[in-house]
Protein backbone atom coordinates (compact mmCIF):
# COMPACT_ATOMS: atom_id res chain seq x y z
CA UNK A 1 0.00 0.00 0.00
CA UNK A 2 2.62 2.53 1.07
CA UNK A 3 5.83 2.76 -0.91
CA UNK A 4 9.23 2.94 0.78
CA UNK A 5 9.61 6.58 -0.09
CA UNK A 6 6.19 7.45 1.35
CA UNK A 7 7.08 5.71 4.64
CA UNK A 8 10.36 7.62 4.74
CA UNK A 9 8.52 10.90 4.13
CA UNK A 10 6.00 10.23 6.86
CA UNK A 11 8.76 9.48 9.36
CA UNK A 12 10.48 12.75 8.54
CA UNK A 13 7.18 14.56 8.75
CA UNK A 14 6.43 13.34 12.25
CA UNK A 15 10.02 13.43 13.49
CA UNK A 16 10.89 16.97 12.49
CA UNK A 17 7.53 18.64 13.17
CA UNK A 18 8.00 20.84 10.16
CA UNK A 19 5.25 23.24 9.10
CA UNK A 20 5.51 21.79 5.65
CA UNK A 21 2.92 19.24 4.66
CA UNK A 22 4.95 17.02 2.39
CA UNK A 23 8.64 16.46 3.01
CA UNK A 24 10.39 15.05 -0.03
CA UNK A 25 13.80 13.56 -0.48
CA UNK A 26 16.34 15.93 -2.05
CA UNK A 27 16.70 15.72 -5.80
CA UNK A 28 20.02 14.18 -6.72
CA UNK A 29 19.96 13.32 -10.41
CA UNK A 30 18.31 15.21 -13.23
CA UNK A 31 18.41 14.35 -16.93
CA UNK A 32 17.60 16.63 -19.85
CA UNK A 33 16.62 14.74 -22.97
CA UNK A 34 16.82 16.21 -26.45
CA UNK A 35 16.21 14.63 -29.83
CA UNK A 36 13.50 12.20 -28.70
CA UNK A 37 12.08 13.33 -32.03
CA UNK A 38 15.04 13.92 -34.29
CA UNK A 39 13.55 16.85 -36.20
CA UNK A 40 12.51 18.90 -33.16
CA UNK A 41 15.65 20.96 -33.19
CA UNK A 42 15.58 23.15 -30.08
CA UNK A 43 16.19 20.25 -27.72
CA UNK A 44 18.79 18.74 -30.06
CA UNK A 45 20.70 22.02 -30.22
CA UNK A 46 20.55 22.70 -26.48
CA UNK A 47 21.60 19.20 -25.46
CA UNK A 48 24.45 19.05 -27.99
CA UNK A 49 25.81 22.34 -26.71
CA UNK A 50 25.33 21.48 -23.06
CA UNK A 51 27.29 18.26 -23.67
CA UNK A 52 30.20 20.50 -24.76
CA UNK A 53 29.68 23.21 -22.17
CA UNK A 54 27.24 22.42 -19.39
CA UNK A 55 27.91 25.46 -17.18
CA UNK A 56 24.44 26.91 -17.69
CA UNK A 57 22.69 23.79 -16.42
CA UNK A 58 24.88 23.09 -13.40
CA UNK A 59 23.54 23.70 -9.89
CA UNK A 60 25.42 22.98 -6.67
CA UNK A 61 24.84 19.53 -5.35
CA UNK A 62 22.84 18.42 -8.34
CA UNK A 63 23.88 16.12 -11.16
CA UNK A 64 22.38 17.33 -14.42
CA UNK A 65 22.94 15.11 -17.42
CA UNK A 66 22.05 16.25 -20.94
CA UNK A 67 21.38 13.35 -23.30
CA UNK A 68 20.41 12.75 -26.93
CA UNK A 69 17.81 9.99 -26.83
CA UNK A 70 17.40 9.20 -30.53
CA UNK A 71 20.75 9.85 -32.22
CA UNK A 72 19.93 8.06 -35.47
CA UNK A 73 16.78 10.10 -35.96
CA UNK A 74 18.72 13.26 -35.08
CA UNK A 75 21.35 12.43 -37.70
CA UNK A 76 18.66 12.00 -40.35
CA UNK A 77 16.67 14.97 -39.06
CA UNK A 78 13.56 12.84 -38.96
CA UNK A 79 11.01 12.22 -36.19
CA UNK A 80 11.94 8.53 -35.85
CA UNK A 81 13.58 5.68 -37.73
CA UNK A 82 11.16 2.74 -37.17
CA UNK A 83 8.64 3.90 -34.56
CA UNK A 84 7.91 6.85 -32.27
CA UNK A 85 10.35 6.67 -29.33
CA UNK A 86 7.99 8.71 -27.18
CA UNK A 87 5.22 6.11 -27.26
CA UNK A 88 6.98 2.87 -26.37
CA UNK A 89 8.20 3.03 -22.79
CA UNK A 90 5.55 0.58 -21.67
CA UNK A 91 6.30 -2.68 -19.89
CA UNK A 92 5.67 -4.79 -22.97
CA UNK A 93 8.19 -3.00 -25.15
CA UNK A 94 10.72 -2.60 -22.36
CA UNK A 95 10.45 -6.30 -21.62
CA UNK A 96 10.95 -7.63 -25.15
CA UNK A 97 13.96 -9.84 -25.69
CA UNK A 98 16.76 -7.75 -27.15
CA UNK A 99 17.46 -8.66 -30.78
CA UNK A 100 18.55 -7.02 -34.00
CA UNK A 101 15.05 -7.63 -35.35
CA UNK A 102 13.48 -5.28 -32.85
CA UNK A 103 12.67 -1.81 -34.18
CA UNK A 104 15.55 0.61 -33.54
CA UNK A 105 13.54 2.71 -31.12
CA UNK A 106 12.52 -0.31 -29.03
CA UNK A 107 16.17 -1.28 -28.62
CA UNK A 108 16.99 2.32 -27.83
CA UNK A 109 14.18 2.50 -25.26
CA UNK A 110 15.64 -0.44 -23.41
CA UNK A 111 19.10 1.17 -23.38
CA UNK A 112 17.62 4.41 -22.06
CA UNK A 113 15.64 2.54 -19.41
CA UNK A 114 18.81 0.86 -18.16
CA UNK A 115 20.72 4.12 -18.09
CA UNK A 116 18.12 6.31 -16.40
CA UNK A 117 15.50 4.07 -14.81
CA UNK A 118 13.84 2.17 -13.31
CA UNK A 119 11.41 4.43 -11.48
CA UNK A 120 12.25 4.62 -7.72
CA UNK A 121 15.47 2.69 -8.28
CA UNK A 122 18.50 3.52 -6.12
CA UNK A 123 20.62 5.02 -8.91
CA UNK A 124 17.75 6.16 -11.07
CA UNK A 125 17.22 9.68 -12.23
CA UNK A 126 14.75 11.63 -10.12
CA UNK A 127 13.63 14.08 -12.78
CA UNK A 128 13.71 13.85 -16.55
CA UNK A 129 13.01 16.90 -18.69
CA UNK A 130 12.15 15.87 -22.24
CA UNK A 131 12.49 18.71 -24.75
CA UNK A 132 10.08 18.93 -27.66
CA UNK A 133 8.84 21.31 -30.32
CA UNK A 134 5.48 21.44 -32.01
CA UNK A 135 4.24 23.02 -35.24
CA UNK A 136 1.16 24.09 -33.23
CA UNK A 137 0.86 27.58 -31.76
CA UNK A 138 1.16 26.32 -28.19
CA UNK A 139 3.79 28.74 -26.87
CA UNK A 140 5.56 27.48 -23.75
CA UNK A 141 3.94 24.28 -22.52
CA UNK A 142 4.68 21.98 -19.59
CA UNK A 143 3.28 18.46 -19.78
CA UNK A 144 2.13 16.74 -16.60
CA UNK A 145 1.32 13.05 -16.36
CA UNK A 146 -0.02 12.81 -12.79
CA UNK A 147 -2.52 15.23 -11.24
CA UNK A 148 -1.49 14.29 -7.70
CA UNK A 149 2.22 14.98 -8.06
CA UNK A 150 2.67 17.81 -5.55
CA UNK A 151 6.32 18.32 -6.31
CA UNK A 152 5.75 18.83 -10.04
CA UNK A 153 2.72 21.03 -9.53
CA UNK A 154 4.89 23.21 -7.29
CA UNK A 155 7.65 23.22 -9.90
CA UNK A 156 5.24 24.16 -12.65
CA UNK A 157 3.78 26.93 -10.50
CA UNK A 158 7.30 28.28 -9.96
CA UNK A 159 8.12 28.13 -13.68
CA UNK A 160 4.88 29.83 -14.69
CA UNK A 161 5.34 32.59 -12.14
CA UNK A 162 8.97 33.13 -13.18
CA UNK A 163 8.14 33.30 -16.88
CA UNK A 164 5.23 35.74 -16.49
CA UNK A 165 4.14 37.79 -18.37
CA UNK A 166 5.21 35.22 -21.00
CA UNK A 167 2.35 32.68 -20.85
CA UNK A 168 3.19 29.10 -19.91
CA UNK A 169 0.47 26.48 -20.17
CA UNK A 170 0.17 23.15 -18.41
CA UNK A 171 -1.18 20.20 -20.35
CA UNK A 172 -2.33 17.25 -18.25
CA UNK A 173 -2.26 13.98 -20.17
CA UNK A 174 -3.59 11.82 -17.34
CA UNK A 175 -6.33 9.77 -18.96
CA UNK A 176 -7.04 6.04 -18.77
CA UNK A 177 -6.80 5.38 -22.52
CA UNK A 178 -5.20 8.49 -24.02
CA UNK A 179 -2.15 8.58 -21.78
CA UNK A 180 1.00 7.39 -23.58
CA UNK A 181 4.23 5.76 -22.44
CA UNK A 182 6.70 8.61 -22.75
CA UNK A 183 10.50 8.45 -22.66
CA UNK A 184 10.48 10.57 -19.50
CA UNK A 185 7.95 8.35 -17.71
CA UNK A 186 10.77 6.12 -16.46
CA UNK A 187 11.62 8.81 -13.90
CA UNK A 188 9.80 9.55 -10.64
CA UNK A 189 9.19 13.11 -11.86
CA UNK A 190 8.65 13.21 -15.63
CA UNK A 191 8.43 16.69 -17.18
CA UNK A 192 7.51 17.32 -20.80
CA UNK A 193 8.67 20.66 -22.18
CA UNK A 194 7.01 21.58 -25.46
CA UNK A 195 7.55 24.90 -27.25
CA UNK A 196 5.97 26.01 -30.50
CA UNK A 197 5.22 26.98 -33.14
CA UNK A 198 8.34 25.83 -34.91
CA UNK A 199 8.50 23.87 -38.16
CA UNK A 200 10.20 20.48 -38.06
CA UNK A 201 13.82 20.82 -39.11
CA UNK A 202 14.02 24.52 -38.20
CA UNK A 203 15.79 26.15 -35.24
CA UNK A 204 14.26 29.51 -34.30
CA UNK A 205 16.08 31.88 -31.94
CA UNK A 206 12.92 33.05 -30.18
CA UNK A 207 11.75 29.50 -29.43
CA UNK A 208 15.26 28.57 -28.27
CA UNK A 209 15.22 31.50 -25.86
CA UNK A 210 11.87 30.43 -24.41
CA UNK A 211 12.89 26.81 -23.88
CA UNK A 212 16.16 27.86 -22.32
CA UNK A 213 14.30 30.06 -19.82
CA UNK A 214 11.94 27.22 -18.92
CA UNK A 215 14.88 24.95 -18.13
CA UNK A 216 16.65 27.66 -16.14
CA UNK A 217 13.61 28.24 -13.93
CA UNK A 218 13.07 24.51 -13.50
CA UNK A 219 16.66 23.97 -12.35
CA UNK A 220 16.45 27.02 -10.08
CA UNK A 221 13.35 25.52 -8.46
CA UNK A 222 15.14 22.24 -7.84
CA UNK A 223 18.10 24.09 -6.38
CA UNK A 224 15.90 26.21 -4.07
CA UNK A 225 14.07 23.05 -3.01
CA UNK A 226 17.30 21.20 -2.23
CA UNK A 227 18.53 24.22 -0.25
CA UNK A 228 15.55 23.87 2.06
CA UNK A 229 13.11 26.44 0.74
CA UNK A 230 9.52 25.67 1.65
CA UNK A 231 6.96 26.13 -1.06
CA UNK A 232 3.53 27.02 0.38
CA UNK A 233 0.34 25.46 -0.96
CA UNK A 234 -0.45 26.61 -4.46
CA UNK A 235 -2.85 26.10 -7.32
CA UNK A 236 -2.30 26.10 -11.04
CA UNK A 237 -4.63 26.14 -13.99
CA UNK A 238 -4.21 23.05 -16.17
CA UNK A 239 -5.76 21.79 -19.39
CA UNK A 240 -6.70 18.16 -19.13
CA UNK A 241 -7.08 16.01 -22.23
CA UNK A 242 -10.60 14.74 -22.89
CA UNK A 243 -10.53 13.48 -26.44
CA UNK A 244 -8.54 13.47 -29.67
CA UNK A 245 -10.25 14.59 -32.87
CA UNK A 246 -9.22 13.28 -36.28
CA UNK A 247 -9.53 15.07 -39.60
CA UNK A 248 -12.63 14.26 -41.59
CA UNK A 249 -11.48 11.75 -44.20
CA UNK A 250 -12.83 10.42 -47.49
CA UNK A 251 -13.48 6.79 -48.39
CA UNK A 252 -9.79 6.34 -49.26
CA UNK A 253 -8.72 7.61 -45.86
CA UNK A 254 -7.39 10.87 -47.31
CA UNK A 255 -7.97 14.09 -45.43
CA UNK A 256 -11.13 15.75 -46.71
CA UNK A 257 -11.08 18.88 -44.56
CA UNK A 258 -8.48 21.23 -43.06
CA UNK A 259 -8.36 22.91 -39.66
CA UNK A 260 -10.64 25.92 -40.13
CA UNK A 261 -8.86 29.31 -40.36
CA UNK A 262 -10.74 30.43 -37.21
CA UNK A 263 -9.29 27.51 -35.23
CA UNK A 264 -5.78 27.55 -36.78
CA UNK A 265 -3.23 28.96 -34.28
CA UNK A 266 -5.88 29.24 -31.55
CA UNK A 267 -4.45 26.63 -29.16
CA UNK A 268 -5.63 27.10 -25.55
CA UNK A 269 -8.48 29.41 -26.59
CA UNK A 270 -12.07 28.37 -25.91
CA UNK A 271 -13.89 26.61 -28.73
CA UNK A 272 -17.66 26.69 -28.28
CA UNK A 273 -20.26 24.37 -29.80
CA UNK A 274 -21.16 25.84 -33.18
CA UNK A 275 -17.73 27.46 -33.68
CA UNK A 276 -15.97 26.56 -36.96
CA UNK A 277 -13.71 23.55 -36.57
CA UNK A 278 -12.88 22.19 -40.05
CA UNK A 279 -13.15 23.54 -43.60
CA UNK A 280 -13.75 20.99 -46.34
CA UNK A 281 -11.80 21.15 -49.58
CA UNK A 282 -15.12 22.16 -51.14
CA UNK A 283 -15.34 25.18 -48.87
CA UNK A 284 -17.92 23.98 -46.32
CA UNK A 285 -17.49 24.82 -42.65
CA UNK A 286 -17.86 22.00 -40.12
CA UNK A 287 -18.65 23.31 -36.62
CA UNK A 288 -17.89 21.84 -33.20
CA UNK A 289 -20.80 19.69 -32.04
CA UNK A 290 -21.92 18.73 -28.55
CA UNK A 291 -22.73 21.14 -25.75
CA UNK A 292 -19.39 21.75 -24.03
CA UNK A 293 -16.81 24.43 -24.55
CA UNK A 294 -13.39 22.84 -25.04
CA UNK A 295 -9.82 24.15 -25.20
CA UNK A 296 -8.03 22.74 -28.26
CA UNK A 297 -4.31 21.95 -28.17
CA UNK A 298 -1.90 20.46 -30.69
CA UNK A 299 -3.95 22.14 -33.39
CA UNK A 300 -2.48 21.09 -36.75
CA UNK A 301 0.64 19.37 -35.45
CA UNK A 302 2.52 17.95 -38.45
CA UNK A 303 3.50 14.72 -36.71
CA UNK A 304 -0.06 13.93 -35.70
CA UNK A 305 -1.53 13.58 -39.19
CA UNK A 306 -0.37 9.96 -39.21
CA UNK A 307 -1.67 9.49 -35.65
CA UNK A 308 -5.03 10.71 -36.89
CA UNK A 309 -5.16 13.68 -34.56
CA UNK A 310 -6.13 17.12 -35.90
CA UNK A 311 -6.29 18.51 -32.37
CA UNK A 312 -6.95 17.41 -28.80
CA UNK A 313 -9.90 18.67 -26.78
CA UNK A 314 -9.11 19.67 -23.22
CA UNK A 315 -11.03 20.96 -20.27
CA UNK A 316 -9.68 23.67 -17.99
CA UNK A 317 -9.37 22.97 -14.26
CA UNK A 318 -7.38 23.97 -11.19
CA UNK A 319 -4.93 21.58 -9.58
CA UNK A 320 -3.84 22.13 -6.01
CA UNK A 321 -0.52 21.23 -4.43
CA UNK A 322 0.23 20.93 -0.74
CA UNK A 323 3.23 22.74 0.65
CA UNK A 324 6.49 20.93 0.11
CA UNK A 325 9.99 21.12 1.42
CA UNK A 326 13.13 19.04 1.34
CA UNK A 327 13.35 16.43 4.08
CA UNK A 328 17.02 16.85 4.94
CA UNK A 329 16.61 20.33 6.42
Amino acid sequence: MWTDSQRKSDKKLLGEMTSCHIAEEPIKKVAIFGGTHGNELTGVFLVKHWLENGAEIQRTGLEVKPFITNPRAVKKCTRYIDCDLNRIFDLENLGKKMSEDLPYEVRRAQEIYHLFGPKDGEDSYDIIFDLHNTTSNMGCTLILEDSRNNFLIQMFHYIKTSLAPLPCYVYLIEHPSLKYATTRSIAKYPVGIEVGPQPQGVLRADILDQMRKMIKHALDFIHHFNEGKEFPPCAIEVYKIIEKVDYPRDENGEIAAVIHPNLQDQDWKPLHPGDPMFLTLDGKTMPLGGDCTVYPVFVNEAAYYEKKEAFAKTTKLMLNAKSICCSVH
Binding site: F45, P199, V202, L203, R204, Q264, L281, N300, A303, Y305
Partner: protein, 319 residues
Protein backbone atom coordinates in the same frame (compact mmCIF):
# COMPACT_ATOMS: atom_id res chain seq x y z
CA UNK B 1 19.73 42.21 -73.58
CA UNK B 2 17.39 40.26 -75.77
CA UNK B 3 14.27 38.59 -74.50
CA UNK B 4 13.36 35.03 -75.24
CA UNK B 5 10.70 34.36 -77.87
CA UNK B 6 7.17 34.85 -76.61
CA UNK B 7 4.42 32.42 -77.54
CA UNK B 8 2.99 33.11 -80.99
CA UNK B 9 0.21 30.58 -80.69
CA UNK B 10 -2.37 30.03 -77.94
CA UNK B 11 -1.05 27.97 -75.05
CA UNK B 12 -2.84 24.64 -75.23
CA UNK B 13 -0.69 22.27 -73.26
CA UNK B 14 -0.56 23.48 -69.68
CA UNK B 15 0.23 21.52 -66.53
CA UNK B 16 0.02 22.30 -62.81
CA UNK B 17 2.38 20.21 -60.68
CA UNK B 18 2.06 19.65 -56.94
CA UNK B 19 4.06 17.45 -54.58
CA UNK B 20 7.40 18.08 -56.31
CA UNK B 21 8.49 18.05 -52.68
CA UNK B 22 6.32 15.49 -50.94
CA UNK B 23 5.99 17.39 -47.65
CA UNK B 24 4.92 20.75 -49.12
CA UNK B 25 1.27 20.18 -48.50
CA UNK B 26 -0.63 22.88 -50.41
CA UNK B 27 0.48 21.47 -53.76
CA UNK B 28 0.11 17.86 -52.63
CA UNK B 29 -3.52 18.32 -51.63
CA UNK B 30 -4.37 20.49 -54.62
CA UNK B 31 -2.89 17.98 -57.07
CA UNK B 32 -4.73 15.11 -55.36
CA UNK B 33 -7.98 17.06 -55.40
CA UNK B 34 -7.67 17.99 -59.09
CA UNK B 35 -6.82 14.42 -60.08
CA UNK B 36 -10.28 13.52 -58.73
CA UNK B 37 -12.07 16.69 -59.84
CA UNK B 38 -10.25 18.50 -62.66
CA UNK B 39 -13.12 20.82 -63.66
CA UNK B 40 -11.56 23.77 -61.85
CA UNK B 41 -8.54 23.58 -64.19
CA UNK B 42 -10.58 23.89 -67.37
CA UNK B 43 -10.83 27.03 -69.44
CA UNK B 44 -12.45 27.73 -72.80
CA UNK B 45 -9.29 27.42 -74.87
CA UNK B 46 -7.41 24.76 -72.87
CA UNK B 47 -7.51 22.44 -69.87
CA UNK B 48 -4.58 22.31 -67.49
CA UNK B 49 -3.38 18.83 -66.54
CA UNK B 50 -2.77 18.20 -62.84
CA UNK B 51 0.34 16.18 -61.98
CA UNK B 52 1.49 14.74 -58.67
CA UNK B 53 5.17 15.16 -59.38
CA UNK B 54 6.78 13.00 -56.69
CA UNK B 55 4.35 10.25 -55.67
CA UNK B 56 6.82 8.24 -53.55
CA UNK B 57 7.96 11.24 -51.53
CA UNK B 58 4.33 12.35 -51.16
CA UNK B 59 3.31 8.95 -49.84
CA UNK B 60 6.11 9.13 -47.26
CA UNK B 61 5.47 12.83 -46.55
CA UNK B 62 9.12 13.62 -47.21
CA UNK B 63 10.82 16.20 -49.39
CA UNK B 64 12.38 13.44 -51.52
CA UNK B 65 13.26 9.77 -51.42
CA UNK B 66 16.82 9.73 -52.84
CA UNK B 67 17.50 13.11 -54.42
CA UNK B 68 15.78 16.51 -54.58
CA UNK B 69 13.44 16.20 -57.60
CA UNK B 70 13.55 19.95 -58.15
CA UNK B 71 17.29 19.75 -58.83
CA UNK B 72 17.08 16.80 -61.21
CA UNK B 73 16.11 18.48 -64.47
CA UNK B 74 19.56 19.21 -65.85
CA UNK B 75 20.49 17.72 -69.23
CA UNK B 76 23.09 15.63 -67.44
CA UNK B 77 20.44 13.82 -65.38
CA UNK B 78 17.79 13.80 -68.09
CA UNK B 79 19.90 12.53 -70.96
CA UNK B 80 22.33 10.09 -69.38
CA UNK B 81 21.63 6.40 -69.84
CA UNK B 82 19.28 4.90 -67.25
CA UNK B 83 20.77 2.34 -64.89
CA UNK B 84 19.04 0.16 -62.27
CA UNK B 85 20.82 2.07 -59.50
CA UNK B 86 19.51 5.47 -60.53
CA UNK B 87 17.99 7.47 -57.68
CA UNK B 88 14.19 7.38 -57.66
CA UNK B 89 13.94 11.08 -58.50
CA UNK B 90 16.29 10.84 -61.47
CA UNK B 91 14.08 8.17 -62.99
CA UNK B 92 11.02 10.24 -62.14
CA UNK B 93 12.56 13.38 -63.66
CA UNK B 94 13.06 11.47 -66.91
CA UNK B 95 9.40 10.36 -66.83
CA UNK B 96 8.25 13.92 -66.22
CA UNK B 97 10.54 15.07 -69.01
CA UNK B 98 8.79 12.62 -71.34
CA UNK B 99 5.38 13.78 -70.12
CA UNK B 100 5.95 17.55 -70.02
CA UNK B 101 9.05 17.99 -72.19
CA UNK B 102 11.41 17.05 -73.61
CA UNK B 103 13.17 20.07 -72.18
CA UNK B 104 14.26 22.60 -74.84
CA UNK B 105 12.37 20.80 -77.59
CA UNK B 106 9.48 21.92 -79.76
CA UNK B 107 7.30 19.18 -78.27
CA UNK B 108 7.50 20.46 -74.71
CA UNK B 109 4.42 21.68 -72.85
CA UNK B 110 3.60 25.34 -73.35
CA UNK B 111 3.46 26.11 -69.65
CA UNK B 112 4.09 24.40 -66.31
CA UNK B 113 3.08 25.89 -62.97
CA UNK B 114 4.89 24.23 -60.04
CA UNK B 115 3.50 24.55 -56.50
CA UNK B 116 5.72 24.89 -53.44
CA UNK B 117 5.68 25.87 -49.79
CA UNK B 118 8.49 27.20 -47.65
CA UNK B 119 9.04 27.42 -43.90
CA UNK B 120 10.43 30.93 -44.56
CA UNK B 121 8.23 33.99 -44.21
CA UNK B 122 8.16 34.65 -47.94
CA UNK B 123 4.46 35.40 -48.23
CA UNK B 124 3.48 34.98 -51.87
CA UNK B 125 6.61 34.56 -53.96
CA UNK B 126 6.60 34.05 -57.71
CA UNK B 127 9.68 32.25 -58.97
CA UNK B 128 10.71 32.53 -62.61
CA UNK B 129 13.94 31.76 -64.35
CA UNK B 130 15.03 35.22 -65.42
CA UNK B 131 13.89 38.65 -66.54
CA UNK B 132 14.10 37.47 -70.16
CA UNK B 133 11.05 35.25 -69.70
CA UNK B 134 8.61 37.80 -71.13
CA UNK B 135 5.51 35.64 -70.80
CA UNK B 136 6.29 34.74 -67.19
CA UNK B 137 6.98 38.42 -66.36
CA UNK B 138 3.62 39.50 -67.72
CA UNK B 139 1.97 36.70 -65.75
CA UNK B 140 3.70 37.86 -62.55
CA UNK B 141 2.59 41.42 -63.21
CA UNK B 142 -0.98 40.23 -63.70
CA UNK B 143 -0.92 38.39 -60.35
CA UNK B 144 0.53 41.45 -58.59
CA UNK B 145 -2.20 43.67 -60.02
CA UNK B 146 -4.99 41.21 -59.22
CA UNK B 147 -3.88 40.80 -55.60
CA UNK B 148 -2.18 43.99 -54.39
CA UNK B 149 -2.89 42.98 -50.76
CA UNK B 150 -0.64 39.93 -51.18
CA UNK B 151 2.48 41.95 -52.13
CA UNK B 152 3.63 39.22 -54.52
CA UNK B 153 7.40 39.35 -54.80
CA UNK B 154 9.19 38.13 -57.90
CA UNK B 155 12.33 36.03 -57.42
CA UNK B 156 14.41 35.24 -60.49
CA UNK B 157 16.23 32.10 -59.54
CA UNK B 158 18.66 31.41 -62.33
CA UNK B 159 22.28 32.05 -61.51
CA UNK B 160 24.07 33.43 -64.56
CA UNK B 161 25.90 30.82 -66.59
CA UNK B 162 24.17 28.01 -64.77
CA UNK B 163 21.82 25.54 -66.42
CA UNK B 164 18.27 25.39 -65.05
CA UNK B 165 17.56 22.33 -62.90
CA UNK B 166 14.00 22.80 -61.69
CA UNK B 167 10.83 21.07 -62.81
CA UNK B 168 9.11 23.95 -64.58
CA UNK B 169 12.18 24.43 -66.80
CA UNK B 170 11.12 21.41 -68.88
CA UNK B 171 8.33 23.44 -70.47
CA UNK B 172 8.59 26.32 -72.91
CA UNK B 173 7.37 28.68 -70.20
CA UNK B 174 7.07 28.11 -66.49
CA UNK B 175 6.55 29.60 -63.09
CA UNK B 176 6.73 28.35 -59.52
CA UNK B 177 4.49 29.59 -56.72
CA UNK B 178 6.27 29.56 -53.36
CA UNK B 179 3.96 30.24 -50.44
CA UNK B 180 4.99 30.46 -46.79
CA UNK B 181 5.48 30.28 -43.97
CA UNK B 182 4.11 26.77 -43.60
CA UNK B 183 5.81 23.93 -41.73
CA UNK B 184 6.61 20.78 -43.73
CA UNK B 185 3.86 18.23 -43.33
CA UNK B 186 1.25 20.83 -42.33
CA UNK B 187 -1.73 21.90 -44.43
CA UNK B 188 -2.89 25.40 -43.46
CA UNK B 189 -6.30 26.48 -44.74
CA UNK B 190 -5.25 30.07 -45.41
CA UNK B 191 -2.24 29.13 -47.53
CA UNK B 192 -4.10 26.33 -49.31
CA UNK B 193 -6.89 28.71 -50.25
CA UNK B 194 -4.46 31.38 -51.44
CA UNK B 195 -2.57 28.85 -53.57
CA UNK B 196 -5.79 27.64 -55.14
CA UNK B 197 -6.91 31.17 -55.97
CA UNK B 198 -3.52 32.02 -57.48
CA UNK B 199 -3.59 28.90 -59.68
CA UNK B 200 -7.04 29.90 -60.95
CA UNK B 201 -5.76 33.38 -61.79
CA UNK B 202 -2.72 31.97 -63.60
CA UNK B 203 -5.05 29.90 -65.78
CA UNK B 204 -7.28 32.95 -66.28
CA UNK B 205 -4.24 34.89 -67.49
CA UNK B 206 -3.37 32.18 -70.00
CA UNK B 207 -6.98 32.27 -71.20
CA UNK B 208 -6.81 36.06 -71.56
CA UNK B 209 -3.62 35.70 -73.58
CA UNK B 210 -5.16 32.98 -75.74
CA UNK B 211 -8.15 35.22 -76.42
CA UNK B 212 -5.93 37.95 -77.85
CA UNK B 213 -5.65 40.35 -74.91
CA UNK B 214 -2.95 43.00 -75.22
CA UNK B 215 -0.30 43.28 -72.53
CA UNK B 216 1.69 46.50 -72.82
CA UNK B 217 5.28 47.07 -71.72
CA UNK B 218 5.92 47.90 -68.07
CA UNK B 219 8.64 48.28 -65.44
CA UNK B 220 9.13 45.34 -63.12
CA UNK B 221 10.95 45.10 -59.80
CA UNK B 222 12.43 41.72 -58.92
CA UNK B 223 15.05 40.01 -56.78
CA UNK B 224 17.91 37.91 -58.08
CA UNK B 225 20.43 35.89 -56.07
CA UNK B 226 23.94 37.21 -55.45
CA UNK B 227 25.08 34.75 -52.80
CA UNK B 228 24.12 32.38 -50.00
CA UNK B 229 25.05 32.36 -46.32
CA UNK B 230 25.38 29.17 -44.30
CA UNK B 231 24.71 28.84 -40.58
CA UNK B 232 27.69 29.23 -38.27
CA UNK B 233 28.87 25.70 -37.58
CA UNK B 234 31.13 23.84 -35.17
CA UNK B 235 34.14 21.88 -36.43
CA UNK B 236 31.94 18.81 -36.42
CA UNK B 237 29.49 20.52 -38.76
CA UNK B 238 26.76 21.01 -36.17
CA UNK B 239 24.89 24.30 -35.83
CA UNK B 240 26.79 26.76 -33.63
CA UNK B 241 24.01 29.32 -33.75
CA UNK B 242 20.87 30.19 -35.61
CA UNK B 243 19.22 33.02 -37.53
CA UNK B 244 19.18 36.17 -35.38
CA UNK B 245 15.77 37.28 -34.07
CA UNK B 246 16.19 40.55 -35.99
CA UNK B 247 16.61 38.70 -39.28
CA UNK B 248 14.12 35.87 -38.68
CA UNK B 249 10.91 36.33 -40.71
CA UNK B 250 12.26 39.41 -42.52
CA UNK B 251 12.42 37.93 -46.03
CA UNK B 252 12.62 40.57 -48.78
CA UNK B 253 13.53 43.30 -46.29
CA UNK B 254 16.84 45.15 -46.66
CA UNK B 255 19.81 43.79 -44.70
CA UNK B 256 22.47 46.43 -44.12
CA UNK B 257 26.17 45.77 -43.51
CA UNK B 258 26.73 45.54 -39.74
CA UNK B 259 23.24 44.24 -38.95
CA UNK B 260 23.01 41.04 -36.87
CA UNK B 261 22.35 37.85 -38.85
CA UNK B 262 23.11 35.00 -36.46
CA UNK B 263 22.87 34.44 -32.73
CA UNK B 264 25.37 31.99 -31.30
CA UNK B 265 24.67 29.45 -28.57
CA UNK B 266 26.68 31.71 -26.26
CA UNK B 267 24.30 34.61 -26.99
CA UNK B 268 26.86 36.49 -29.08
CA UNK B 269 25.67 38.16 -32.29
CA UNK B 270 27.30 37.59 -35.67
CA UNK B 271 26.99 40.60 -37.96
CA UNK B 272 26.57 40.82 -41.72
CA UNK B 273 29.96 41.79 -43.08
CA UNK B 274 29.07 42.31 -46.75
CA UNK B 275 29.68 45.66 -48.39
CA UNK B 276 26.25 46.44 -49.72
CA UNK B 277 22.62 46.11 -48.79
CA UNK B 278 21.12 42.77 -49.74
CA UNK B 279 17.60 41.36 -49.57
CA UNK B 280 17.62 37.95 -47.86
CA UNK B 281 15.08 35.31 -48.88
CA UNK B 282 14.51 31.71 -47.85
CA UNK B 283 15.50 32.77 -44.33
CA UNK B 284 15.58 29.63 -42.18
CA UNK B 285 14.07 27.26 -44.73
CA UNK B 286 14.10 23.76 -43.19
CA UNK B 287 15.06 22.03 -46.43
CA UNK B 288 18.09 24.22 -46.94
CA UNK B 289 19.95 23.27 -43.75
CA UNK B 290 21.39 20.26 -45.56
CA UNK B 291 22.27 22.44 -48.56
CA UNK B 292 24.32 24.72 -46.27
CA UNK B 293 22.00 27.70 -46.75
CA UNK B 294 20.65 29.78 -43.84
CA UNK B 295 19.42 32.40 -46.29
CA UNK B 296 19.86 33.46 -49.93
CA UNK B 297 21.19 36.97 -50.49
CA UNK B 298 19.50 38.81 -53.34
CA UNK B 299 19.74 42.18 -54.99
CA UNK B 300 16.68 44.16 -55.97
CA UNK B 301 16.62 45.50 -59.51
CA UNK B 302 14.21 47.03 -61.97
CA UNK B 303 13.92 46.26 -65.66
CA UNK B 304 11.63 46.90 -68.58
CA UNK B 305 9.44 44.11 -69.85
CA UNK B 306 8.47 44.61 -73.49
CA UNK B 307 4.87 44.38 -74.62
CA UNK B 308 3.63 40.92 -75.50
CA UNK B 309 2.59 40.59 -79.14
CA UNK B 310 -1.16 40.17 -79.36
CA UNK B 311 -2.32 36.77 -80.52
CA UNK B 312 -5.02 36.20 -83.03
CA UNK B 313 -7.84 34.97 -80.77
CA UNK B 314 -8.12 31.19 -80.28
CA UNK B 315 -10.44 29.78 -83.00
CA UNK B 316 -12.57 27.42 -80.91
CA UNK B 317 -12.73 25.83 -77.44
CA UNK B 318 -10.11 23.14 -76.93
CA UNK B 319 -11.38 19.57 -77.40
Amino acid sequence: MCSLPVPREPLRRVAVTGGTHGNEMSGVYLARHWLQAPAELQRLSFSAVPVLANPAATAACRRYVDHDLNRAFTSSFLNSRPTPDDPYEVTRARELNQLLGPKASGRAFDFVLDLHNTTANMGTCLIAKSSHEVFAMHLCRHLQLQYPELSCQVFLCQWSGEESYNLDSVAKNGLALELGPQPQGVLRADIFSRMRTLVATVLDFIELFNQGTAFPAFEMEAYRPVGVMDFPRTDAGNLAGTVHPQLQDRDFQPLQPGAPIFQMFSGEDLLYDGESTVYPVFINEAAYYEKGIAFVQTEKFTFTVPAMPVLNPAPSPAS
